[in-house]
Protein backbone atom coordinates (compact mmCIF):
# COMPACT_ATOMS: atom_id res chain seq x y z
CA UNK A 1 0.00 0.00 0.00
CA UNK A 2 1.17 3.52 -0.84
CA UNK A 3 1.09 5.98 2.03
CA UNK A 4 1.92 9.66 1.85
CA UNK A 5 2.72 11.89 4.76
CA UNK A 6 2.22 15.60 4.29
CA UNK A 7 4.34 18.41 5.72
CA UNK A 8 3.08 21.87 6.76
CA UNK A 9 4.19 23.21 3.34
CA UNK A 10 1.96 20.65 1.60
CA UNK A 11 -1.00 21.63 3.77
CA UNK A 12 -0.29 25.31 3.08
CA UNK A 13 -0.48 24.73 -0.70
CA UNK A 14 -3.78 22.89 -0.27
CA UNK A 15 -5.08 25.76 1.88
CA UNK A 16 -4.03 28.35 -0.74
CA UNK A 17 -5.94 26.41 -3.40
CA UNK A 18 -9.12 26.17 -1.31
CA UNK A 19 -8.92 29.86 -0.37
CA UNK A 20 -8.70 30.94 -4.03
CA UNK A 21 -11.46 28.56 -5.16
CA UNK A 22 -13.88 29.96 -2.59
CA UNK A 23 -12.63 33.51 -3.12
CA UNK A 24 -13.44 33.33 -6.85
CA UNK A 25 -16.96 32.21 -5.96
CA UNK A 26 -17.41 35.15 -3.56
CA UNK A 27 -16.24 37.70 -6.17
CA UNK A 28 -18.43 36.18 -8.90
CA UNK A 29 -21.47 36.23 -6.58
CA UNK A 30 -21.40 40.01 -6.64
CA UNK A 31 -21.38 40.05 -10.44
CA UNK A 32 -24.16 37.52 -10.97
CA UNK A 33 -27.40 39.15 -12.08
CA UNK A 34 -29.75 36.47 -13.37
CA UNK A 35 -30.32 32.91 -14.52
CA UNK A 36 -28.43 33.45 -17.82
CA UNK A 37 -25.32 34.36 -15.80
CA UNK A 38 -25.78 31.38 -13.49
CA UNK A 39 -26.47 28.72 -16.15
CA UNK A 40 -24.71 30.10 -19.23
CA UNK A 41 -22.04 32.48 -17.87
CA UNK A 42 -24.01 35.20 -19.64
CA UNK A 43 -22.38 33.92 -22.85
CA UNK A 44 -19.50 36.25 -22.08
CA UNK A 45 -16.31 34.19 -21.76
CA UNK A 46 -13.35 34.39 -24.17
CA UNK A 47 -12.43 31.38 -26.30
CA UNK A 48 -9.26 30.47 -24.39
CA UNK A 49 -11.09 30.29 -21.04
CA UNK A 50 -13.88 28.18 -22.58
CA UNK A 51 -11.28 25.97 -24.28
CA UNK A 52 -9.51 25.22 -20.99
CA UNK A 53 -12.91 24.61 -19.36
CA UNK A 54 -13.83 22.35 -22.29
CA UNK A 55 -10.80 20.16 -21.78
CA UNK A 56 -10.81 20.59 -17.98
CA UNK A 57 -14.36 19.24 -17.69
CA UNK A 58 -13.07 16.01 -19.23
CA UNK A 59 -9.89 15.96 -17.17
CA UNK A 60 -11.20 14.66 -13.88
CA UNK A 61 -8.78 12.92 -11.56
CA UNK A 62 -10.28 9.54 -12.48
CA UNK A 63 -9.19 10.34 -16.01
CA UNK A 64 -5.72 11.43 -14.86
CA UNK A 65 -5.20 8.45 -12.58
CA UNK A 66 -6.95 6.06 -14.99
CA UNK A 67 -4.86 7.15 -17.96
CA UNK A 68 -1.62 6.75 -15.98
CA UNK A 69 -2.84 3.29 -14.97
CA UNK A 70 -3.64 2.46 -18.60
CA UNK A 71 -0.26 3.83 -19.71
CA UNK A 72 1.37 1.30 -17.39
CA UNK A 73 -0.96 -1.53 -18.41
CA UNK A 74 -1.33 -0.93 -22.16
CA UNK A 75 1.52 1.44 -23.07
CA UNK A 76 1.40 4.04 -25.85
CA UNK A 77 -1.85 2.64 -27.29
CA UNK A 78 -3.61 4.50 -24.48
CA UNK A 79 -2.89 7.69 -26.44
CA UNK A 80 -5.74 6.73 -28.79
CA UNK A 81 -8.03 8.19 -26.13
CA UNK A 82 -6.33 11.57 -26.73
CA UNK A 83 -5.20 11.69 -30.33
CA UNK A 84 -7.04 10.97 -33.58
CA UNK A 85 -10.46 10.06 -32.13
CA UNK A 86 -10.76 12.92 -29.64
CA UNK A 87 -9.01 15.55 -31.73
CA UNK A 88 -11.01 14.77 -34.91
CA UNK A 89 -14.24 14.92 -32.90
CA UNK A 90 -13.25 18.25 -31.33
CA UNK A 91 -12.41 19.74 -34.72
CA UNK A 92 -15.71 18.39 -36.13
CA UNK A 93 -17.81 19.92 -33.36
CA UNK A 94 -16.03 23.26 -33.73
CA UNK A 95 -16.24 23.47 -37.51
CA UNK A 96 -19.62 21.86 -38.22
CA UNK A 97 -21.80 21.52 -35.12
CA UNK A 98 -21.16 24.60 -33.01
CA UNK A 99 -22.92 26.95 -35.47
CA UNK A 100 -26.15 25.04 -34.73
CA UNK A 101 -25.69 24.76 -30.98
CA UNK A 102 -24.68 28.39 -30.54
CA UNK A 103 -26.59 29.92 -33.46
CA UNK A 104 -29.92 28.33 -32.48
CA UNK A 105 -29.70 30.08 -29.08
CA UNK A 106 -30.52 26.75 -27.45
CA UNK A 107 -29.43 26.81 -23.80
CA UNK A 108 -28.63 23.10 -23.67
CA UNK A 109 -28.13 20.09 -25.91
CA UNK A 110 -31.59 18.67 -25.03
CA UNK A 111 -33.11 22.06 -25.92
CA UNK A 112 -31.49 21.83 -29.38
CA UNK A 113 -33.24 18.45 -29.77
CA UNK A 114 -36.53 20.12 -28.93
CA UNK A 115 -36.00 22.84 -31.54
CA UNK A 116 -34.89 20.34 -34.18
CA UNK A 117 -37.32 17.52 -33.36
CA UNK A 118 -39.86 17.62 -30.54
CA UNK A 119 -40.44 17.66 -26.80
CA UNK A 120 -40.33 13.88 -26.24
CA UNK A 121 -36.86 13.55 -27.80
CA UNK A 122 -35.65 16.40 -25.61
CA UNK A 123 -37.16 14.87 -22.47
CA UNK A 124 -35.70 11.43 -23.20
CA UNK A 125 -32.23 12.93 -23.61
CA UNK A 126 -32.58 15.28 -20.61
CA UNK A 127 -33.67 12.46 -18.29
CA UNK A 128 -30.90 10.01 -19.30
CA UNK A 129 -28.31 12.79 -19.18
CA UNK A 130 -29.41 13.96 -15.70
CA UNK A 131 -29.07 10.43 -14.31
CA UNK A 132 -25.68 9.99 -15.98
CA UNK A 133 -24.28 13.22 -14.56
CA UNK A 134 -25.33 12.35 -11.01
CA UNK A 135 -23.67 8.95 -11.27
CA UNK A 136 -20.52 10.47 -12.79
CA UNK A 137 -20.34 13.08 -10.06
CA UNK A 138 -20.96 10.44 -7.36
CA UNK A 139 -18.25 8.16 -8.68
CA UNK A 140 -15.85 11.11 -8.76
CA UNK A 141 -16.68 11.81 -5.11
CA UNK A 142 -16.32 8.17 -4.13
CA UNK A 143 -12.94 7.90 -5.86
CA UNK A 144 -11.69 11.07 -4.14
CA UNK A 145 -12.81 9.92 -0.68
CA UNK A 146 -11.36 6.46 -1.22
CA UNK A 147 -8.03 7.79 -2.49
CA UNK A 148 -7.57 10.26 0.36
CA UNK A 149 -8.58 7.57 2.84
CA UNK A 150 -6.12 5.05 1.39
CA UNK A 151 -3.04 7.20 0.93
CA UNK A 152 -3.45 9.76 3.69
CA UNK A 153 -5.67 7.95 6.18
CA UNK A 154 -8.22 10.78 6.12
CA UNK A 155 -11.79 9.91 7.09
CA UNK A 156 -13.81 8.83 4.01
CA UNK A 157 -17.09 10.40 5.15
CA UNK A 158 -15.40 13.65 6.14
CA UNK A 159 -13.64 13.89 2.74
CA UNK A 160 -16.98 13.45 0.93
CA UNK A 161 -18.69 16.05 3.12
CA UNK A 162 -15.85 18.60 2.92
CA UNK A 163 -15.29 18.38 -0.84
CA UNK A 164 -19.05 18.30 -1.50
CA UNK A 165 -19.45 21.43 0.64
CA UNK A 166 -16.66 23.33 -1.18
CA UNK A 167 -18.07 22.45 -4.62
CA UNK A 168 -21.57 23.37 -3.45
CA UNK A 169 -20.46 26.77 -2.15
CA UNK A 170 -18.55 27.82 -5.23
CA UNK A 171 -21.28 26.74 -7.65
CA UNK A 172 -24.02 28.37 -5.56
CA UNK A 173 -22.01 31.58 -5.55
CA UNK A 174 -20.78 31.81 -9.12
CA UNK A 175 -22.69 29.22 -11.16
CA UNK A 176 -21.21 27.98 -14.43
CA UNK A 177 -18.53 30.70 -14.51
CA UNK A 178 -17.23 29.55 -11.15
CA UNK A 179 -17.07 25.95 -12.40
CA UNK A 180 -15.26 26.95 -15.61
CA UNK A 181 -12.76 29.17 -13.76
CA UNK A 182 -11.96 26.27 -11.45
CA UNK A 183 -11.45 24.03 -14.46
CA UNK A 184 -8.92 26.57 -15.77
CA UNK A 185 -7.11 26.52 -12.40
CA UNK A 186 -7.21 22.72 -12.34
CA UNK A 187 -5.72 22.56 -15.84
CA UNK A 188 -2.69 24.61 -14.86
CA UNK A 189 -2.34 22.76 -11.54
CA UNK A 190 -2.12 19.45 -13.41
CA UNK A 191 0.54 20.85 -15.72
CA UNK A 192 2.51 22.29 -12.78
CA UNK A 193 2.09 19.15 -10.68
CA UNK A 194 2.82 16.54 -13.34
CA UNK A 195 5.64 18.15 -15.34
CA UNK A 196 8.19 17.65 -12.52
CA UNK A 197 6.93 14.07 -12.14
CA UNK A 198 7.63 13.30 -15.80
CA UNK A 199 10.99 15.04 -15.60
CA UNK A 200 12.14 13.15 -12.49
CA UNK A 201 10.77 9.87 -13.85
CA UNK A 202 12.58 10.24 -17.15
CA UNK A 203 15.85 10.97 -15.34
CA UNK A 204 15.38 7.87 -13.18
CA UNK A 205 14.64 5.60 -16.14
CA UNK A 206 17.68 6.77 -18.12
CA UNK A 207 16.08 9.33 -20.41
CA UNK A 208 13.93 8.62 -23.47
CA UNK A 209 16.33 5.96 -24.82
CA UNK A 210 16.37 4.25 -21.43
CA UNK A 211 12.57 4.25 -21.35
CA UNK A 212 12.32 2.71 -24.84
CA UNK A 213 14.89 0.03 -23.96
CA UNK A 214 13.15 -0.89 -20.70
CA UNK A 215 9.68 -0.98 -22.30
CA UNK A 216 11.01 -3.51 -24.81
CA UNK A 217 11.78 -5.74 -21.83
CA UNK A 218 8.25 -5.13 -20.46
CA UNK A 219 6.69 -6.10 -23.84
CA UNK A 220 8.71 -9.29 -24.25
CA UNK A 221 8.13 -10.30 -20.61
CA UNK A 222 4.37 -10.15 -21.25
CA UNK A 223 4.58 -12.20 -24.43
CA UNK A 224 4.30 -9.41 -27.02
CA UNK A 225 6.56 -8.15 -29.79
CA UNK A 226 9.20 -5.85 -28.27
CA UNK A 227 7.67 -2.60 -29.57
CA UNK A 228 4.18 -3.33 -28.19
CA UNK A 229 4.41 -0.75 -25.36
CA UNK A 230 5.72 2.04 -27.61
CA UNK A 231 3.53 1.72 -30.73
CA UNK A 232 -0.02 2.96 -31.25
CA UNK A 233 -1.05 1.24 -34.51
CA UNK A 234 1.67 -1.24 -35.53
CA UNK A 235 0.22 -4.21 -33.62
CA UNK A 236 -3.49 -3.63 -34.19
CA UNK A 237 -3.80 -6.06 -37.13
CA UNK A 238 -4.49 -8.85 -34.65
CA UNK A 239 -6.03 -8.27 -31.19
CA UNK A 240 -3.77 -10.96 -29.70
CA UNK A 241 -0.67 -8.96 -30.64
CA UNK A 242 -1.31 -5.85 -28.55
CA UNK A 243 -1.87 -5.38 -24.80
CA UNK A 244 -5.31 -3.76 -25.28
CA UNK A 245 -6.66 -6.77 -27.17
CA UNK A 246 -8.20 -4.56 -29.85
CA UNK A 247 -8.01 -4.66 -33.65
CA UNK A 248 -7.93 -1.55 -35.83
CA UNK A 249 -11.55 -1.81 -37.03
CA UNK A 250 -12.97 -1.74 -33.49
CA UNK A 251 -10.51 0.99 -32.59
CA UNK A 252 -11.32 3.32 -35.49
CA UNK A 253 -15.06 2.68 -35.64
CA UNK A 254 -15.79 2.12 -31.93
CA UNK A 255 -13.50 4.58 -30.19
CA UNK A 256 -12.45 6.67 -33.18
CA UNK A 257 -15.86 7.35 -34.62
CA UNK A 258 -18.80 6.44 -32.41
CA UNK A 259 -17.61 6.89 -28.82
CA UNK A 260 -15.32 9.88 -29.32
CA UNK A 261 -17.71 11.77 -31.60
CA UNK A 262 -20.64 10.75 -29.39
CA UNK A 263 -18.95 12.18 -26.32
CA UNK A 264 -17.29 15.35 -27.67
CA UNK A 265 -20.11 16.33 -30.02
CA UNK A 266 -23.24 15.59 -27.98
CA UNK A 267 -22.38 15.43 -24.27
CA UNK A 268 -23.73 18.62 -22.70
CA UNK A 269 -21.07 18.50 -19.99
CA UNK A 270 -18.41 19.59 -22.51
CA UNK A 271 -20.60 21.35 -25.08
CA UNK A 272 -21.89 23.66 -22.29
CA UNK A 273 -18.37 25.14 -21.98
CA UNK A 274 -18.30 26.18 -25.65
CA UNK A 275 -21.85 27.56 -25.42
CA UNK A 276 -20.65 29.94 -22.67
CA UNK A 277 -18.38 31.73 -25.18
CA UNK A 278 -18.78 35.45 -25.89
CA UNK A 279 -19.69 35.06 -29.58
CA UNK A 280 -20.07 32.52 -32.38
CA UNK A 281 -16.42 32.76 -33.48
CA UNK A 282 -15.21 32.09 -29.92
CA UNK A 283 -17.67 29.21 -29.51
CA UNK A 284 -16.37 27.57 -32.71
CA UNK A 285 -12.74 28.05 -31.76
CA UNK A 286 -13.30 26.66 -28.23
CA UNK A 287 -13.14 22.90 -29.01
CA UNK A 288 -10.40 23.38 -31.60
CA UNK A 289 -8.20 25.34 -29.20
CA UNK A 290 -8.92 22.67 -26.57
CA UNK A 291 -7.63 20.02 -29.00
CA UNK A 292 -4.11 21.52 -28.83
CA UNK A 293 -3.44 20.70 -25.15
CA UNK A 294 -5.46 17.50 -25.61
CA UNK A 295 -2.84 16.31 -28.11
CA UNK A 296 0.00 17.05 -25.72
CA UNK A 297 -1.56 15.63 -22.55
CA UNK A 298 -0.45 12.01 -23.11
CA UNK A 299 3.00 13.35 -22.26
CA UNK A 300 1.71 14.37 -18.83
CA UNK A 301 -0.75 11.65 -17.91
CA UNK A 302 0.13 8.50 -19.93
CA UNK A 303 3.90 8.82 -20.00
CA UNK A 304 4.17 8.64 -16.17
CA UNK A 305 2.41 5.26 -16.30
CA UNK A 306 4.82 3.99 -18.95
CA UNK A 307 7.75 5.23 -16.86
CA UNK A 308 6.28 3.52 -13.79
CA UNK A 309 5.97 0.09 -15.42
CA UNK A 310 9.47 0.42 -16.92
CA UNK A 311 10.96 1.24 -13.49
CA UNK A 312 8.87 -1.45 -11.80
CA UNK A 313 9.87 -4.21 -14.23
CA UNK A 314 13.54 -3.28 -14.28
CA UNK A 315 13.69 -2.75 -10.48
CA UNK A 316 15.40 0.59 -11.04
CA UNK A 317 15.92 3.20 -8.33
CA UNK A 318 13.97 1.31 -5.69
CA UNK A 319 10.63 2.08 -7.34
CA UNK A 320 7.90 -0.54 -7.43
CA UNK A 321 4.18 -0.54 -7.97
CA UNK A 322 2.06 -1.92 -5.11
CA UNK A 323 0.77 -5.46 -5.70
CA UNK A 324 -2.83 -6.62 -5.82
CA UNK A 325 -3.51 -10.38 -6.12
CA UNK A 326 -0.01 -10.98 -7.48
CA UNK A 327 -0.33 -8.31 -10.20
CA UNK A 328 0.83 -4.68 -10.14
CA UNK A 329 -1.99 -2.45 -8.82
CA UNK A 330 -2.11 -0.10 -11.80
CA UNK A 331 -4.70 2.18 -10.18
CA UNK A 332 -2.06 3.21 -7.65
CA UNK A 333 0.43 4.31 -10.33
CA UNK A 334 0.09 8.06 -9.70
CA UNK A 335 0.12 7.89 -5.87
CA UNK A 336 3.14 5.53 -6.03
CA UNK A 337 5.03 7.94 -8.31
CA UNK A 338 4.13 10.93 -6.12
CA UNK A 339 5.29 9.11 -2.98
CA UNK A 340 8.55 8.00 -4.60
CA UNK A 341 9.64 11.14 -6.45
CA UNK A 342 8.09 14.15 -4.77
CA UNK A 343 9.67 15.81 -1.74
CA UNK A 344 7.78 18.03 0.67
CA UNK A 345 6.13 20.96 -1.10
CA UNK A 346 5.97 19.29 -4.50
CA UNK A 347 3.91 16.55 -2.89
CA UNK A 348 1.39 19.18 -1.81
CA UNK A 349 1.30 20.57 -5.36
CA UNK A 350 0.74 17.10 -6.89
CA UNK A 351 -1.95 16.24 -4.37
CA UNK A 352 -3.66 19.61 -4.86
CA UNK A 353 -3.73 18.95 -8.62
CA UNK A 354 -5.45 15.60 -8.00
CA UNK A 355 -7.99 17.05 -5.54
CA UNK A 356 -8.69 19.96 -7.92
CA UNK A 357 -9.35 17.47 -10.71
CA UNK A 358 -11.79 15.47 -8.62
CA UNK A 359 -13.65 18.59 -7.53
CA UNK A 360 -13.77 20.01 -11.07
CA UNK A 361 -15.13 16.68 -12.26
CA UNK A 362 -17.93 16.95 -9.70
CA UNK A 363 -18.59 20.62 -10.41
CA UNK A 364 -18.72 20.06 -14.17
CA UNK A 365 -21.36 17.37 -13.77
CA UNK A 366 -23.38 19.35 -11.23
CA UNK A 367 -23.48 22.51 -13.39
CA UNK A 368 -24.62 20.47 -16.40
CA UNK A 369 -27.21 18.76 -14.19
CA UNK A 370 -28.67 21.96 -12.73
CA UNK A 371 -29.03 23.50 -16.22
CA UNK A 372 -30.72 20.47 -17.76
CA UNK A 373 -32.95 20.00 -14.73
CA UNK A 374 -34.04 23.65 -14.61
CA UNK A 375 -34.45 24.39 -18.33
CA UNK A 376 -35.32 21.02 -19.85
CA UNK A 377 -37.34 19.36 -17.10
CA UNK A 378 -38.62 21.92 -14.56
CA UNK A 379 -39.32 24.85 -16.90
CA UNK A 380 -40.83 22.54 -19.52
CA UNK A 381 -42.88 20.11 -17.48
CA UNK A 382 -43.34 21.55 -13.98
CA UNK A 383 -43.66 25.34 -14.08
CA UNK A 384 -43.40 27.09 -17.43
CA UNK A 385 -43.59 30.88 -17.64
CA UNK A 386 -42.22 31.71 -14.18
CA UNK A 387 -39.92 34.66 -13.48
CA UNK A 388 -36.17 34.64 -14.08
CA UNK A 389 -35.58 34.94 -10.32
CA UNK A 390 -37.67 31.82 -9.78
CA UNK A 391 -35.60 29.77 -12.24
CA UNK A 392 -32.40 31.06 -10.66
CA UNK A 393 -33.71 29.90 -7.27
CA UNK A 394 -34.67 26.51 -8.74
CA UNK A 395 -31.19 26.25 -10.32
CA UNK A 396 -29.58 26.82 -6.91
CA UNK A 397 -31.93 24.30 -5.34
CA UNK A 398 -31.03 21.82 -8.10
CA UNK A 399 -27.36 22.40 -7.27
CA UNK A 400 -27.96 21.46 -3.62
CA UNK A 401 -30.04 18.45 -4.69
CA UNK A 402 -27.39 17.48 -7.27
CA UNK A 403 -24.61 17.51 -4.67
CA UNK A 404 -26.77 15.56 -2.20
CA UNK A 405 -27.67 13.00 -4.88
CA UNK A 406 -23.97 12.76 -5.86
CA UNK A 407 -23.06 11.97 -2.26
CA UNK A 408 -25.78 9.32 -2.28
CA UNK A 409 -24.37 7.95 -5.55
CA UNK A 410 -20.89 7.91 -3.96
CA UNK A 411 -22.17 5.63 -1.17
CA UNK A 412 -23.98 3.54 -3.78
CA UNK A 413 -20.71 3.23 -5.73
CA UNK A 414 -18.95 2.11 -2.54
CA UNK A 415 -21.13 -1.02 -2.52
CA UNK A 416 -19.96 -2.18 -5.96
CA UNK A 417 -16.46 -2.92 -7.12
CA UNK A 418 -17.38 -2.60 -10.79
CA UNK A 419 -19.57 0.51 -10.85
CA UNK A 420 -17.09 2.21 -13.20
CA UNK A 421 -17.62 -0.58 -15.75
CA UNK A 422 -21.37 -0.04 -15.50
CA UNK A 423 -20.98 3.69 -16.07
CA UNK A 424 -18.76 3.16 -19.13
CA UNK A 425 -21.41 0.88 -20.49
CA UNK A 426 -24.10 3.49 -19.87
CA UNK A 427 -22.04 5.97 -21.92
CA UNK A 428 -21.97 3.46 -24.80
CA UNK A 429 -25.74 3.02 -24.43
CA UNK A 430 -26.58 6.74 -24.28
CA UNK A 431 -23.95 8.75 -26.19
CA UNK A 432 -23.39 6.40 -29.14
CA UNK A 433 -26.98 6.37 -30.43
CA UNK A 434 -27.35 10.08 -29.66
CA UNK A 435 -24.50 10.85 -32.06
CA UNK A 436 -26.37 9.08 -34.88
CA UNK A 437 -29.47 11.19 -34.06
CA UNK A 438 -27.43 14.40 -34.22
CA UNK A 439 -25.60 13.42 -37.38
CA UNK A 440 -28.83 12.75 -39.25
CA UNK A 441 -30.72 15.62 -37.61
CA UNK A 442 -28.09 18.24 -38.38
CA UNK A 443 -27.15 17.11 -41.88
CA UNK A 444 -30.33 15.59 -43.35
CA UNK A 445 -33.42 17.77 -43.34
CA UNK A 446 -35.67 14.76 -44.05
CA UNK A 447 -35.03 13.34 -40.56
CA UNK A 448 -38.36 13.39 -38.73
CA UNK A 449 -39.23 13.72 -35.05
CA UNK A 450 -40.61 10.17 -34.97
CA UNK A 451 -37.43 8.91 -36.64
CA UNK A 452 -35.24 10.61 -34.02
CA UNK A 453 -37.26 9.40 -31.04
CA UNK A 454 -37.70 5.77 -32.08
CA UNK A 455 -34.15 5.69 -33.46
CA UNK A 456 -32.79 6.70 -30.05
CA UNK A 457 -34.83 4.01 -28.32
CA UNK A 458 -33.89 1.30 -30.82
CA UNK A 459 -30.22 2.37 -30.64
CA UNK A 460 -30.30 1.85 -26.89
CA UNK A 461 -32.03 -1.52 -27.36
CA UNK A 462 -29.36 -2.45 -29.95
CA UNK A 463 -26.64 -1.69 -27.41
CA UNK A 464 -28.42 -3.80 -24.79
CA UNK A 465 -28.83 -6.75 -27.19
CA UNK A 466 -25.15 -6.68 -28.19
CA UNK A 467 -24.04 -6.45 -24.59
CA UNK A 468 -26.41 -9.21 -23.53
CA UNK A 469 -25.20 -11.59 -26.23
CA UNK A 470 -21.43 -11.08 -25.90
CA UNK A 471 -18.88 -11.44 -23.13
CA UNK A 472 -15.22 -10.59 -22.54
CA UNK A 473 -13.00 -13.67 -22.28
CA UNK A 474 -12.73 -15.05 -18.72
CA UNK A 475 -15.76 -13.01 -17.53
CA UNK A 476 -18.87 -14.66 -16.11
CA UNK A 477 -22.34 -13.80 -17.50
CA UNK A 478 -23.92 -10.89 -15.62
CA UNK A 479 -22.98 -7.25 -15.43
CA UNK A 480 -20.13 -7.70 -17.93
CA UNK A 481 -22.46 -9.17 -20.59
CA UNK A 482 -23.95 -12.48 -21.66
CA UNK A 483 -27.10 -11.89 -19.61
CA UNK A 484 -29.49 -12.77 -22.46
CA UNK A 485 -28.74 -16.46 -22.06
CA UNK A 486 -26.63 -17.21 -25.14
CA UNK A 487 -23.11 -15.88 -25.68
CA UNK A 488 -22.64 -15.41 -29.43
CA UNK A 489 -19.16 -13.92 -29.29
CA UNK A 490 -16.32 -13.59 -26.79
CA UNK A 491 -14.11 -10.46 -26.93
CA UNK A 492 -10.45 -10.47 -25.88
CA UNK A 493 -11.07 -7.52 -23.51
CA UNK A 494 -13.86 -5.46 -21.94
CA UNK A 495 -12.66 -2.46 -23.90
CA UNK A 496 -13.14 -4.29 -27.20
CA UNK A 497 -16.64 -5.30 -26.08
CA UNK A 498 -17.48 -1.69 -25.14
CA UNK A 499 -16.24 -0.38 -28.51
CA UNK A 500 -18.37 -2.90 -30.41
CA UNK A 501 -21.41 -2.24 -28.18
CA UNK A 502 -21.09 1.42 -29.16
CA UNK A 503 -20.77 0.52 -32.86
CA UNK A 504 -23.93 -1.61 -32.75
CA UNK A 505 -25.83 1.06 -30.82
CA UNK A 506 -24.86 3.67 -33.40
CA UNK A 507 -25.73 1.45 -36.36
CA UNK A 508 -29.10 0.49 -34.86
CA UNK A 509 -29.99 4.12 -34.16
CA UNK A 510 -28.75 5.34 -37.55
CA UNK A 511 -30.63 2.61 -39.45
CA UNK A 512 -33.84 2.98 -37.44
CA UNK A 513 -33.84 6.78 -37.66
CA UNK A 514 -33.29 6.58 -41.41
CA UNK A 515 -36.07 4.04 -42.01
CA UNK A 516 -38.64 5.59 -39.66
CA UNK A 517 -37.92 9.05 -41.13
CA UNK A 518 -38.53 7.75 -44.64
CA UNK A 519 -41.77 6.11 -43.48
CA UNK A 520 -43.16 9.15 -41.62
CA UNK A 521 -44.09 12.71 -42.60
CA UNK A 522 -42.01 15.73 -41.72
CA UNK A 523 -43.56 17.89 -39.05
CA UNK A 524 -41.25 20.87 -39.52
CA UNK A 525 -40.93 23.01 -42.62
CA UNK A 526 -37.64 24.21 -44.11
CA UNK A 527 -38.27 27.63 -42.60
CA UNK A 528 -38.62 26.15 -39.12
CA UNK A 529 -35.39 24.20 -39.60
CA UNK A 530 -33.33 27.20 -40.69
CA UNK A 531 -30.40 27.58 -38.28
CA UNK A 532 -30.81 23.97 -37.14
CA UNK A 533 -29.86 21.96 -40.24
CA UNK A 534 -26.63 22.28 -42.25
CA UNK A 535 -28.12 22.59 -45.75
CA UNK A 536 -30.57 25.29 -44.65
CA UNK A 537 -28.19 27.47 -42.65
CA UNK A 538 -26.00 30.27 -43.87
CA UNK A 539 -22.29 29.70 -43.14
CA UNK A 540 -20.79 32.14 -40.60
CA UNK A 541 -18.88 34.88 -42.46
CA UNK A 542 -15.10 34.63 -42.13
CA UNK A 543 -13.88 37.32 -44.49
CA UNK A 544 -11.17 39.48 -42.99
CA UNK A 545 -10.36 36.88 -40.33
CA UNK A 546 -6.74 35.67 -40.13
CA UNK A 547 -6.26 32.02 -41.22
CA UNK A 548 -5.27 30.89 -37.74
CA UNK A 549 -8.49 32.30 -36.30
CA UNK A 550 -10.72 30.52 -38.84
CA UNK A 551 -12.13 27.29 -37.41
CA UNK A 552 -11.60 25.29 -40.61
CA UNK A 553 -7.94 26.23 -41.15
CA UNK A 554 -7.12 26.08 -37.44
CA UNK A 555 -8.82 22.66 -37.28
CA UNK A 556 -6.90 21.52 -40.36
CA UNK A 557 -3.58 22.51 -38.77
CA UNK A 558 -4.52 20.63 -35.57
CA UNK A 559 -5.43 17.53 -37.57
CA UNK A 560 -2.10 17.60 -39.43
CA UNK A 561 -0.28 17.83 -36.09
CA UNK A 562 -2.15 14.85 -34.62
CA UNK A 563 -1.55 12.78 -37.76
CA UNK A 564 2.19 13.51 -37.47
CA UNK A 565 2.08 12.36 -33.82
CA UNK A 566 0.39 9.12 -34.89
CA UNK A 567 2.96 8.54 -37.61
CA UNK A 568 5.84 9.13 -35.18
CA UNK A 569 4.42 6.65 -32.67
CA UNK A 570 2.96 4.32 -35.33
Amino acid sequence: MVTLSLSPADYLILAIYFAFVLGIGVVLRRKLSGSADFFESGRSLPAWVCALGFIGANLGAQEVMGMAASGAKYGAMTAHFYWLPAVSAMVFVGVFMMPFYYGSRARSVPEYLKLRFDERTRTFNAATFAVMTIFSSGISMYALGRLLNLILGWNFHLCLAACGAVVLVYILLGGLTSAIYNEVIQFFLIVAGFLPLVWLGLIAVGGWDGLVARLKVVSVARGYEEGAWMHTWANTGNPAENPMGIEWVGLTMGLGFVLAFGYWCTDFLVVQRAMAAENMAAARRTPILAAIPKMLFPGLVILPGMIAIALHTAHVGGFSLPQNAGEPDYNMTVPALLAHFFPSGLLGLGLTALIASFMSGMAGNVTAFNTVWTYDIYQTHVKPGASDAHYLFVGRLATVAGIAASIGAAYFAARFNNIMDVLQLVFAFVNAPLFATFLLGMFWRRTTSAGAFYGLILGTVGAACHHGLTLPTHAVPGIKGGWLGAVLHAYPSEMAQNFWTAIWAWLACFGATLLVSLATRRTKSDDELRGLVYGLTERPAESGVAWYARPASLGGAVLVAVILLNLYFW
Partner: protein, 60 residues
Amino acid sequence: MHLDIRLPLGLMFASIGVVLVVTGLSSRMAVTIYSGVGVGIFGLLCLFLAWRARGRGRVS
Protein backbone atom coordinates in the same frame (compact mmCIF):
# COMPACT_ATOMS: atom_id res chain seq x y z
CA MET B 1 -19.75 38.25 -15.18
CA HIS B 2 -16.50 40.16 -15.51
CA LEU B 3 -13.61 38.86 -13.46
CA ASP B 4 -10.30 38.39 -15.22
CA ILE B 5 -9.38 34.81 -14.32
CA ARG B 6 -5.70 35.68 -14.84
CA LEU B 7 -5.78 37.77 -11.68
CA PRO B 8 -6.68 34.99 -9.16
CA LEU B 9 -4.73 32.49 -11.27
CA GLY B 10 -1.62 34.66 -11.10
CA LEU B 11 -1.97 35.40 -7.39
CA MET B 12 -2.50 31.73 -6.57
CA PHE B 13 0.44 30.44 -8.59
CA ALA B 14 2.72 33.22 -7.38
CA SER B 15 1.82 32.29 -3.76
CA ILE B 16 2.40 28.58 -4.40
CA GLY B 17 5.70 29.44 -6.10
CA VAL B 18 6.86 31.33 -3.00
CA VAL B 19 5.90 28.39 -0.74
CA LEU B 20 7.80 25.97 -2.99
CA VAL B 21 10.94 28.11 -3.18
CA VAL B 22 11.02 28.63 0.60
CA THR B 23 10.41 24.90 1.20
CA GLY B 24 13.09 23.97 -1.34
CA LEU B 25 15.63 26.34 0.20
CA SER B 26 14.97 25.08 3.72
CA SER B 27 15.14 21.41 2.70
CA ARG B 28 17.94 21.95 0.11
CA MET B 29 15.86 20.23 -2.61
CA ALA B 30 16.85 21.69 -5.97
CA VAL B 31 13.84 20.21 -7.77
CA THR B 32 11.44 21.97 -5.39
CA ILE B 33 13.25 25.28 -5.88
CA TYR B 34 13.20 24.98 -9.70
CA SER B 35 9.53 24.02 -9.67
CA GLY B 36 8.76 26.94 -7.35
CA VAL B 37 10.56 29.36 -9.66
CA GLY B 38 8.70 28.00 -12.70
CA VAL B 39 5.32 28.14 -10.97
CA GLY B 40 6.05 31.62 -9.59
CA ILE B 41 7.09 32.99 -13.00
CA PHE B 42 3.90 31.61 -14.51
CA GLY B 43 1.91 33.37 -11.77
CA LEU B 44 3.68 36.66 -12.39
CA LEU B 45 3.10 36.32 -16.14
CA CYS B 46 -0.63 35.87 -15.53
CA LEU B 47 -0.65 38.94 -13.28
CA PHE B 48 1.19 40.97 -15.93
CA LEU B 49 -1.30 39.92 -18.62
CA ALA B 50 -4.25 40.77 -16.35
CA TRP B 51 -2.71 44.16 -15.53
CA ARG B 52 -2.07 44.89 -19.22
CA ALA B 53 -5.63 43.90 -20.20
CA ARG B 54 -7.03 46.15 -17.47
CA GLY B 55 -4.91 49.02 -18.79
CA ARG B 56 -6.43 48.50 -22.22
CA GLY B 57 -9.91 48.25 -20.76
CA ARG B 58 -10.29 44.67 -22.00
CA VAL B 59 -11.22 42.06 -19.40
CA SER B 60 -11.11 38.32 -20.04
